[in-house]
């Protein structure tokens, strides 16, 4: 009877991570905000956008920057006026998400992945 080895370990771990990412993608989609949403949220911009540029866009959208994450293109913002998510989108944000009770940088990674998928899929 043959006993499995490293190939099994790699296959198992990779499969688990792929399933995990798929489940996270579904959950992130549910956490994406409609245009009329307001309150605290994660605003995701195109990677590579300058921090000053993003700051200006947030101001134009009427968002109050709460903090920048470890990724300069993902910000935690807040705003009380309805329609903040829509105004952020008009200012070039590729996604707005409810804040996850998690490190904003890690949450931002998943948010970026979901925003890019949604952008390409035209959702």
């Amino acid at each position: 009877m043959g006993w499995p080895g490293h190939r099994l370990a790699i296959t198992l771990f990779v499969t688990v991570i792929v399933v995990w990412i798929a489940v996270m993608a579904v959950l992130m989609r549910r956490s994406s905000l409609p245009p009329e949403a307001s309150g605290p949220m994660l605003a995701v911009f195109e990677p590579g956008t300058a921090a000053d540029d993003i700051f200006a866009r947030l101001t134009f959208a009427g968002a109050r920057p709460v903090r920048q994450t470890a990724f300069s293109f993902i910000w935690v913002v807040a705003g009380d006026e309805p329609g903040l998510a829509g105004r952020l989108a008009a200012q070039g944000a590729i996604g707005a998400y409810r804040e996850l009770p998690l490190n904003p940088s890690i949450a931002g990674c998943f948010a970026l992945a979901d925003a890019k998928i949604a952008e390409y899929a035209g959702i």
């Binding site: 009877m1 043959g2 006993w3 499995p4 080895g5 099994l8 370990a9 198992l12 771990f13 688990v16 991570i17 995990w20 489940v23 996270m24 959950l27 992130m28 549910r30 956490s31 903090r67 994450t69 470890a70 998400y97 409810r98 804040e99 996850l100 009770p101 998690l102 490190n103 904003p104 940088s105 890690i106 949450a107 998943f110």
Partner: protein, 409 residues
């Protein structure tokens, strides 16, 4: 021989059995790792002080430790799969009850007692006991490595999953979903039913003794006591770092966001370290790498606290500690089997793990107590270094041979 192999159902083949054990470990370790995310929503929803939630989780950790030898004894007697299945049901009910518990007593009963017992009964210690009986000796350490690495992976992936569930469905539904998902363990444990119980697994090199004689014999065996003492240190160091490293980093100007990433690095590198340790344990004497792990932990801590704390030194430290985190587990379990065989290994590993949990208690408690007394963490860091060196020393004289009372005449 070929004819016999063809009669084995697919779900009892080695690959399926090992994958099943790993999936049990992923869910068992994963679900509990997301509980911290519920501190704020549960406390706020019931207007409870944080102490109520904290006490519930403290009770859970204590019960996990206390129930592990008992769960091990049940697994040795009735088979690991059955114990894991019952444990999963208790774990699921306890987690779902957490969502609806509206009094502190009910919360402590569910989150503390039921979940603690459920975790113990379906934990990777029991999984490893099953794998230890199924897998041939030359592959055992590897199997322990992959099972431990799976538990680490579970911790790593379930925290973001729990957070996303809370955001998408609210904390109560999130807890319910996590509770129901822990029932997956029942299905995952089915292939482990291939594992025999103690009454049928007496191998040629094992003495025919009762469980009581086995426990008495182990506690009278010097090498076992050294292992128990060493694992106390493991629990102390891990719990101290888990709980007190974030505030230590904050004191040194490291942002909360970066501290979160650094703690995440522990989880990721832990997967690599656990698996590698299992591989090493299968090739060399287990006590030597075990001793080396504790020396490296001490050296890492010395290096970390001796240099200015920056994001770079923090990430190097957490990555290094991640590699050394649960890498002690496959080697410790391996030593239990070397000394006492497979018949009562779940019980005897259970007592070693209880020592780990007592160490965890002291790591968390003394970390806070000594910080209050001295106004900084220096004393606890040095205590942790000293204990690491102590653990390295006590592991070295361990005799990697079958204990006399446990060897067949």
């Amino acid at each position: 021989m070929d004819r016999i192999e063809k009669q084995v159902p697919w779900y009892f083949t080695p690959t399926v059995v090992i994958v099943a054990g790993c999936l049990v470990a992923i869910v068992n370790f994963g679900v509990r790792s997301s509980f911290g995310l519920f501190t704020a929503p549960i406390s706020e929803a019931h207007a409870w002080p944080r102490e109520i939630f904290s006490f519930g989780l403290a009770l859970q950790n204590l019960l996990w430790g206390i129930a592990t030898p008992v769960a091990g004894a049940l697994a040795d007697r009735y088979g690991a799969a059955r114990v894991i299945m019952v444990g999963a049901v208790v774990y699921a009910i306890g987690t779902c009850l957490m969502a609806i518990a509206d009094t502190p007593i009910l919360f402590h009963l569910s989150a503390g007692i039921m979940v603690g017992v459920g975790i113990a009964m379906s934990s990777f210690g029991i999984v490893m006991a099953a794998l230890g009986r199924i897998v041939p000796p030359e592959r055992r350490s590897w199997a322990f490595g992959i099972a431990t690495a799976s538990g680490s992976l579970g911790q790593f992936i379930f925290a973001p999953l729990g957070a996303a569930l809370i955001t998408a469905y609210g904390w109560q539904h999130a807890l319910m979903i996590l509770g129901v998902s822990s029932l997956l363990i029942v299905a995952f444990a089915v292939p482990l039913l291939v594992q025999n119980t103690s009454s049928t697994t007496l191998t040629k090199d094992e003495a025919d003794i009762t469980m009581g004689q086995a426990i008495g014999g182990a506690f009278g065996h010097r090498s076992y006591m050294m292992l128990v003492a060493g694992f106390f240190v493991c629990g102390f160091q891990l719990a101290f770092i888990t709980v007190h490293l974030p505030p230590y980093l904050a004191e040194h100007g490291i942002s909360k966001e970066f501290a979160g990433l650094a703690m995440g690095a522990i989880g990721l590198f832990n997967v690599v370290g656990s698996y590698t340790s299992g591989m090493i344990g299968g090739k060399y004497h287990k006590r030597v790498p075990l001793s080396l792990i504790y020396i490296l932990r001490s050296l890492s801590i010395i290096g970390f606290i001796s240099f200015p704390i920056t994001t770079t030194t923090t990430m190097i430290f957490t990555a290094t500690m991640g590699l050394l985190w649960l890498s002690t587990v496959p080697l410790t379990m391996g030593l239990v089997i070397v000394m006492f065989g497979t018949r009562y290994m779940a019980t005897l590993y259970g007592f070693v793990f209880l020592s780990h949990q007592i160490g965890s208690f002291f790591g968390v408690w003394l970390g806070g107590r000594l910080y209050d007394a001295y106004g900084n963490y220096d004393v606890v860091w040095w205590l942790s270094i000293g204990l690491g060196l102590f653990a390295a020393l006590v592991h070295l004289p361990i005799k990697e041979v079958r204990a006399t009372k446990f060897a067949a005449a």
